[in-house]
Amino acid sequence: MVNALLIPLLILSGLGLLFGVILSIAYKQFKVFEDPRIEKVEELLPSANCGACGEPGCRAFAEKVVNQGTNPAKCTVSSSEGLQKIANYLGVDVSREEKRVARLLCAGGTLEAPNLANYVGGINSCRGEVVVDGGIKNCSWGCIGLGDCAIACEFGAITMNDNALPVVDTEKCTACNDCVEVCPKNLFELMPISQKLIVQCKSLLKGDLAESKCRVACTACSRCVVDSAPGIIEIKNNLAVINYKLNDLTNPIAVKRCPTNAIVWLENFNQFETKQKSKLPLGRVEEVFDTDEYYQ
């Protein structure tokens, strides 16, 4: 009776001892040294695993920062304090790359760019609408407005406004590229926040034809080209294109005479937050260009 209790007890404790010894030997023998800083850096990173830095996740990025000396500022999601903490911890210089945000290159909501038909009974997403005759909007380049980007944004930076246009909250936007990839019309572009002069249109049509499709379309009238320093804006394929290499020279005057408000100057506000000029016939401007103001 005692044996029946004792033997299994002995066998089990013997086994336990044996495995314990094996494990402790294995721990000593096969020990892998891991830089403890990696753990710490990973903690300091936002753990969003968004992939904006080009790495599969925050852990991989932390390894790169510690082992290969990658600049922690490659993480666009971290706040500047967070980055400073990592830099202080590792004793490196953080040359903060300029904050970039996603900008929508279309301003034609349902009010400005009318629909030609109703979209009913299909898949409730921009992608789904685009497979049916390229979407219901009259303009072939314009924003569909069903908010695929708002769903794709993991940081809650995109909200759809009443005019069915996505508003990017520049505070929350981390330039993770998700909205750029998901937009079926390729309307998003990541831009440094210092780029305030933006052409919010992608229509390749010209003049009245462009405006007949959307009230805020770029009509390729060249007014902004004339009003800005030479070389900043040029008309390419019936669309004003800004040369951001000369970003320092850009000036809000360039947008003043735009008949459709396709080109905008974003000063301390998000896109589409200001009231858009609307219902203006072609060629008239709301604010008359004031020369006195310019030559002051």
Binding site: L116, I123, R127, G128, V130, V131, D133, N138, S140
Partner: protein, 451 residues
């Protein structure tokens, strides 16, 4: 000719598929009418699959009917010809029926021209195979079934493969459409002639003309002409079923062989051509006329005079609808193509292109909007899918946005026939979501390639 071995007194068909009501009676007795010349024609340069052609005309230039206005770029590309005598009025970007905007040429018709066609027949007997392929490319001939795939690419048999069977696709399984049916009834001579011209170069053992059994007139006429031609042409009757006219389904119905996933019919030694394409080839070699007009079915319950029209390519759609008596007040939707695969049109100021097979005007009685419910896993879509895919599972994956997982279920094999959506009792937009998935996956693979 002896009674066919493969026909064996029964209707041939494939496994699965659906049986929608065909509504062909609206226009299958209407003779093909010629659309009068209109004032202006718009010709997008990218009407076919492959590289868009390159314009070789200038604004203000006078072009003759059938004159080359845009040249092919590369092998998978075809030429484009002017449908009228007229003046090039604009070169720019114009709306296309696909809903996008493409570079194109606008031609203003010369009102005083007789619009007579002056070009010489092409002597095909002196050509070799490469010459034949080149001349089809120069004639701008593409598959007129709907996809507009350049025909010469199809006829250029890759090395190591040979063409055993040439098949003429006269199934026209889409409900409502009757253009191919009427072409077969009214142009049987040209069709047989075209087949023989093509076979002069392809040297297939056997030519099959596949027609669904709901076109008895076409079967009768073509059987008669096939017998008279004393050649290896045989007319086979297929069961009325959708999507019988899909290339792969037709081959499996006639030969009993399936085209493997990712392979082409030529891997089985088969080349399939559409009725309109063969007619265009015959016309090109006999009269020298390149592909500048095509037969389009204008039908539907909400158009005043449904009919089949011979339309110059580039004619605006609203002009054609007007020619057919205009649309009724209760029109709900206008589709380009048939009801199963056709795309809804939002804009009627777009031209007929080479791939336009029909214009379908539906009234509000036919157009229903379904409520969407959850998948009840009844398996009806599995019984309908002609490719034995699993639409039910793929639909669930699409709902969750798991596109990469859909690849494992061979979503890229789906040719978007729409049978799954047609049978789904829960009204789930299955084929639509596969279209979305295919678009996303294609974009993704392009992005990965560029990395």
């Amino acid at each position: 000719m002896a009674v066919s071995d493969i026909q064996n007194n029964k209707l041939l068909t494939f496994v699965n598929g659906i049986h929608p009501k065909d509504y062909k009676e609206l226009s299958n007795n209407c003779k093909i009418q010629r659309m009068p010349f209109v004032e202006e024609y718009t010709l997008p340069l990218g009407q076919h699959i492959g590289a868009p052609s390159k314009s070789i005309v200038q604004k203000g230039q006078y072009v003759k009917r059938g004159e080359l206005i845009a040249d092919s770029v590369g092998f998978v590309s075809v030429s484009l010809h002017s449908p009228v005598d007229g003046i090039v009025s604009d070169i720019g970007i114009f709306d296309t029926p696909k809903g996008d905007v493409l570079p194109g040429i606008k031609i203003k018709t010369d009102r005083f021209s007789t619009q007579q066609f002056h070009q010489k027949a092409v002597d095909f007997e002196s050509l070799d195979v490469n010459g034949f392929i080149k001349s089809i490319q120069n004639a701008g001939i593409v598959g007129l079934g709907g996809a507009a795939f350049p025909s010469h690419v199809k006829f250029a048999i890759p090395e190591g493969k040979n063409c055993k069977y040439l098949m003429l696709n006269g199934c026209e399984c889409e409900p409502f459409l009757t253009a191919d049916d009427r072409t077969m009834v009214e142009y049987p001579k040209q069709i047989i002639d075209g087949l023989l011209i093509v076979n002069h170069f392809l040297k297939a053992e056997k030519i099959y003309i596949a027609i669904e059994s709901n076109k008895p007139k076409a079967i009768e006429v073509l059987s008669k002409y096939a017998e008279e031609s004393n050649s290896n042409i045989e007319v086979v009757t297929l069961k009325v079923k959708y999507p019988q006219g899909a290339e792969k389904m037709m081959i499996s119905a006639i030969l009993g062989n399936e085209v493997p996933s990712g392979k082409l019919p030529i891997d089985l030694g088969v080349i399939v051509a559409n009725v309109g394409t063969i007619k265009a080839i015959s016309e090109y070699f006999r009269t020298g006329m390149p592909l500048i007009e095509r037969i389009v079915t204008i039908t539907g319950t909400s158009i005043n005079n449904p009919t089949n029209v011979l339309v110059p390519i580039g004619t605006p759609m609203d002009e054609i609808l007007e020619f057919c008596g205009g649309i009724k007040d209760n029109t709900a939707r206008i589709l380009l193509g048939g009801p199963m695969m056709g795309a809804v049109q939002k804009n009627l100021n777009v031209p007929v292109v080479k791939g336009t097979s029909g214009l379908l005007v539906l009234s509000s009685n036919e157009v229903k909007d379904f409520d969407q419910y959850n998948c009840i896993k009844c398996g009806k879509c599995l019984d309908a899918c002609p490719l034995f895919l699993n639409p039910s599972r793929m639909g669930l994956l699409a709902k969750k946005g798991l596109w990469d997982e859909m690849l494992d279920f061979h979503v890229m094999d789906c040719f978007e026939c729409g049978s799954c959506s047609y049978v789904c009792p829960s009204g789930i937009p299955l084929v639509q979501s596969f279209r979305v998935a295919k678009g996303i996956l294609r974009e993704k693979s392009i992005r990965d390639q560029n990395k």
